[in-house]
Assembly symmetry: C2
Homo-oligomer: 328 residues x 2
């Protein structure tokens, strides 16, 4: 396990060696590959080509919920539950916030220290470094690395609300939405649209007053309908006390049950294909945007922009000229 900074730039990059060591489960090699992803390194092409055969092994589980519901603690409890089953686990803690910060503003990661010496666990925080597409571009590639390193399951924990939750759901096979009593979460859930992305609801801190009210609120909102998929899966609502590890085994059992259901319905393959299509499309757009960037360097875009500012050209006509130059 590692969350230490990799030795970026200290030695020349031997990609095949690095990939071989990551596939053998060497934590430092895994960390370095994920750093390459964060940095949008040109070496990723070679990395991903080498990883391809083993990149789809892991089950991907998303965890989301408002700040304060206990996401880190729950992640840690789930890691422990998976480890009891002898499974190798990866954790990606993703912070999609501020494009300026450059650093992860993650919540309490102290609990994770429980797993710091377990070599069956990889833990990694990722922050957007402001490159195109940010985490929605980087996360699938980090998943590939962890999968190729032999993780049976990867937990993606996201900080934040709104868009981030939707993105996590689009990356995961199974999405857990965490709630807790006393946070007005019922309303929050409805607002952020997380009802639509939840495959499993987890009411954490269930030893506190109000837990049953949260369960009732979710049930009520579910009864109002309008699920993303009218597919026959009824999201279960589980209660946990993650700080004491209570309920984690039941959550894992439900994740497995959901996985079996996905596989049976052909939905697992469908989700993964959709994910791969998004990933390929995002990379293709990056490639195309880089070409526009080259043109900008060649003054084409700048000249077009000048004509738009002068009112000689509208932005659509300018875009057509740009695209024509690109695909000529």
């Amino acid at each position: 396990m590692t969350s230490a900074a990799p030795a970026r730039g200290r030695r020349p990059l031997d990609v095949p060696d690095l990939v071989a060591r990551a596939e053998a489960g060497e934590a430092r090699a895994v960390a370095r590959l994920i750093s390459l992803v964060e940095d949008a390194s040109p070496a990723l092409r070679e990395v991903m080509a080498l990883l391809a055969p083993r990149a789809g092994h892991a089950r991907v589980v998303g965890l989301t919920g408002s700040p304060g519901v206990g996401k880190s603690t729950s992640t840690s409890a789930l890691v422990a539950a998976y480890r009891r089953r002898g499974m190798k686990v990866g954790v990606l803690a993703v912070d999609p916030s501020s494009p300026f910060s450059g650093g992860a503003l993650l919540g309490d990661r102290v609990r994770m220290q429980d797993h710091a010496t377990d070599d069956g666990v990889f833990i990694r925080s990722m922050a957007s470094r402001g490159h195109l597409g940010g985490l929605s571009w980087a996360t699938p590639q980090a998943l590939r690395v962890l999968s190729a390193a032999g993780c049976d399951v990867v937990l993606i924990e996201t900080v934040g609300v709104g868009q981030a939750e939707v993105e996590v759901a689009s990356l995961a096979d199974t999405t857990l939405v965490l709630l807790a009593p006393g946070m007005g979460d019922g309303i929050q859930a409805a607002k952020a649209g997380i009802l639509e992305v939840a495959d499993i609801f987890v009411v954490n801190k269930a030893d506190r007053e109000g837990a049953d009210t949260v369960v009732r609120d979710i049930r009520y909102m579910l009864s109002l309908g309008d699920r993303r998929t009218d597919d026959g899966w009824r999201p279960p609502i589980l209660k946990t006390v993650a700080a004491k590890g209570e309920g984690a085994d039941e959550v894992v059992a439900e994740i497995e049950r959901h996985g079996a259901w996905l596989a049976e319905k052909g939905e697992l393959d469908r989700r993964r294909r959709a994910r791969a299509a998004d990933e390929v499309e995002a990379i293709a757009l990056t490639v195309l945007r880089a070409r526009i960037g080259d043109l900008r360097g060649g003054e084409n875009l700048d000249a077009l922009a000048g004509r738009v500012v002068a009112g000689e050209l509208d932005p659509y006509a300018a875009a057509d000229e740009l695209v024509a130059g690109l695909t000529a």
Copy 2:
């Protein structure tokens, strides 16, 4: 002035007529054109071509700040101040939140009713309807409409934090960052990176306790440096009581002073060219993405995604194939 829903789809679209009426300042025509922008209508190409000569007239002022600082009230006070100067004003209230809602979750717009019968004021709320690029794609085009309708100044008021604030700054000639006492704003400002985007700070609710502390905090943080532009502009810090209209004239005077400074330094043209370049690039990427969409319909992307899922192909190689198909 209008914020009423337009008569979408009720009658066939006569674009030249609609544009002519909007340019003559007819509120309903302006509203309908902005609805076309929100809907990413195919008619926009024709609209923008017709608007081009008059699309760059307006000064663009961004207003941002945490919920509760009084953005709507401040916007309304600024509108009144501009009207006293005989200027025509547009207001775009932008909500970049939830991709699910489809509707604007804007704050208190009641204050805006002060201007509801003034035909020198256009007010419009915009929400992302989930199309590609969302508001960052739509807002510049709505600006074009308001500018062509004769607005001398357009105020873009944004709800939200983080990314949204940065985007507003990238669209505006002058960005106002609003703060208020008693909200821990000092820390918030530093976090969200808004220090870097502010051209003018406005401490609203300045009749409340703590206003001077907020001013001091801003001054301290500014002294720590690290501005986006080391360009010689020192962001002034103004105090207002927007609910009573106090300080609005001074804010307008500072906006004018900043505008004059931008023009003198050639920065206004530079900002507008950069904005136009972003806009053209965004439209070009939309065009390219639509072509990928066509290919997806033609099974190319889906087939590539299937090979990625199977581990036969890595996502970069798949993207290369996609791009090759696109630009062939």
